[in-house]
């Protein structure tokens, strides 16, 4: 029982980490109907900008840690703003009113460009990232289970960060003027434009917010693995989360992450040995597809009814 709980908790916490990446996808899809394949590349770029600034500020300019950290986050946010601006100005604006698949293909192209540019500018090495998050393992319920239940402090912090992000985004969407404009654009581009909502500005803002979410994901994953190219592959971990949670729901990204995380870990540990192991990657997709059979729009996705 103790081991089952340990795997379950580990899976839930891993799922939160996937949700951090999935959130960025949801934001852009929600506001523009674009499935931004470049979200993983944005996570990598944000993390690289953060870690390289942190390194240079500390080692070459001898700044204190907190100042270097602030500079690192500010610079990474600035890089995300440039990507948001360039995406809107050079790609999205030219493709307004095109089919969703055209926009999707454009983001695939952007992925390769952003990945290549980020590695050229910031380097392709592995950069250890320390932003002050604790990384030590802790053991809970030691009196109940032999050896206790292992939980990693970094994963708990990731859950806290994800919770804060969701709360912040919910407030942003529901309570601010820009948030309401974003929702209007998401519902109908043309109608939003006709009542004076500046579409280009809104797209820039939503890409910027997605970039900042990518920065949060990059900071947490970078602390866990070191900042390296494989961060861009996290997009693949977020896909089943999106399928399950729905492409337009912020809470869906979190709940989807929890279900996928727990499901894939339990499957790997308890079913994997019977099937030769290494099943968790495809099992996550199987789990998501099973949910789709029941709810095609995902758990929290909007049900789209089109008149024909």
């Amino acid at each position: 029982m103790g081991f089952f709980l340990e795997v379950l908790i580990g899976g839930l916490l891993a799922g939160v980490l996937y949700s951090l990446v999935a959130l960025g996808f949801v934001l852009i899809f929600k506001a523009s109907g674009v499935f931004n394949f470049a979200q993983g590349a944005m996570v990598l770029t944000a993390a690289l900008a953060l870690v390289r600034t942190l390194d240079i500020a500390q080692k070459e300019w001898h700044w204190p840690f907190w100042l270097a950290l602030v500079a690192g986050f500010l610079f990474a946010a600035f890089v995300m703003a440039i990507i948001a601006w360039a995406s809107e100005r050079l790609v999205l604006r030219k493709l307004v009113n095109q089919e969703g698949i055209i926009l999707f293909m454009a983001t695939i192209g952007m992925t390769f460009f952003i990945e290549g540019l980020a590695q050229t500018v910031f380097g392709a090495d592995v950069y250890p990232l320390n932003i002050g998050l604790p990384k030590e393992p802790i053991f809970i319920l030691e009196s109940v289970f032999d050896g206790g239940i292992l939980v990693n402090e970094l994963d708990i912090w990731a859950a806290v960060i994800a919770g804060l992000l969701v709360a912040g985004l919910a407030l942003f969407f529901q309570r601010t003027r820009i948030g309401r404009a974003l929702r209007a654009v998401a519902d109908d581009h043309a109608a939003a434009q006709s009542v004076g909502i500046p579409l280009n500005q809104i797209w820039f803002i939503v890409w910027l917010v997605a970039g900042l979410v990518a920065l949060a994901a990059g900071a947490v994953w970078g602390s866990k693995l070191g900042v390296q190219f494989s961060l861009t592959l996290l997009a693949l971990k977020a896909l089943p989360v999106l399928i399950l949670g729905g492409f337009t729901s912020v809470p869906g990204a979190i709940i989807g992450g929890l279900i996928i995380g727990a499901g894939e870990k339990l499957a790997e540990v308890f079913l994997g040995p019977m099937m030769g192991g290494g099943i968790e990657i495809w099992f996550a997709y199987v789990l998501a597809l099973l949910f789709l059979l029941v709810r095609p729009q995902g758990l929290f996705g909007e049900r789209i009814i089109e008149r024909v």
């Binding site: 081991f3 392709a124 592995v126 070191g226 390296q228 190219f229 996290l234 971990k237 870990k265 192991g277």
Partner: protein
Amino acid sequence: MGLRKLALLGAAIASAGVIVATAAQAQNEQFIPGLVYRTGAYAPNGIPFADGVRDYITMLNERDGGINGVKITFEECETGYATDRGVECYERLKGKGPTGAAYFSPLSTGITFALTEKAPGDKVPLITMGYGRSESRDGAVFEWNFPLLGTYWTAANVAVQHIAKEIGGLDKLKGKKIALLYHDSPYGKEPIAALEAMSKKYGFEFLPIPVPAPGSEQKSQWLQIRQQRPDYVLLWGWGVMNSAAVTEAGNVNYPRDKMIGVWWSGAEPDVVPAGDKGAGYKALMLQHPAGKSAVYADLEKYVIGPGKSLAKPDEIGSVLYNRGLINSMLGTESIRTAMAKFGNKPMTGEQVRWGIEHLDLTADRIKQLGFEGMIGPIKVSCSDHEGTRLSRVHQWDGKKWNVISDWYTADDSILAPMVKETAAKYATEKKITPRDCSKES
């Protein structure tokens, strides 16, 4: 003829002369291709290796004018560690240069598997130093494959020998549990056959645990390890999988000094990201350590000093940079061996294959080349394309790798029958008639 026309004619004649001279010069060049990955998930490991390969060749050109007066031309092709792109690079580069590619070093077991089928038809040898198919050391069947310095079966055997030494002898292995945490790919699966054979022979329990590529998320695997409590964990990873494994070992409090990585899991990029959690972790060595041997004096003088190296300062002397140097040294010494038989001119792939098969680097020659302390003597033959079965173990102290063992020699009484059986099976499947090595010269 006006002055302008005369000038144009003169320029044309001069240009033609330059073209003819360049073509003649190009006819006396030896082409060596480089399949590299400087981008993508495995770039942190691919870059220092590629820089080492490149710098040694640059040094030969700058210091000696190439090999026996034959200049080396070198061209890289980016594979991104992807098999399809590796095959594409091979097809593009195999016919380059006056005599075609001298040899290929794919630096990927997946690409090696794909090229093993193509190399015999194209007559281009594959140097797969420390990787590739383990049975390809049988040169009677695998005429064009050269897994120099060590195969994964050699590595698996040495790892078990080291564990036995730590616990007090091979007889103490009985009842122990050894897990293999492996990259779920042809590379990661290679040692399984050897470990299963040794598990039967020595009586230890063998627990294979696959990690789906790229291996950045290993929570479920390490929770299994925490539950199963193996006495040792062998790590067969590459790229991010290695540092993630060392980090997760720290997270579940698995003792790092009970982990032994293969030589592709034992370089600086594999442990640095894990920070303090990496201290104590051990790995096999593809014979050579980190650090600088005598060859670095000439590298500094001809390549690094004059700014002709692409390597960053912290790469120089690292494990994978040294491995790149050794890869080029073995390749170019094979070309030199071939030239001793066929003459000082650019060698064809077929002639280089002969050269690799007759490579005999004694301790004296290794010292002369500036690699003393890096590798032991190696003698390749028709029946033995591996050339040596030596390895050592080094340990990461949190800052640097330290050699902690003496030399081990893999136990061929276990490996040789496996090689023979598997190679024979491959020959039957592919309808290959094995060569009679006693008749080869």
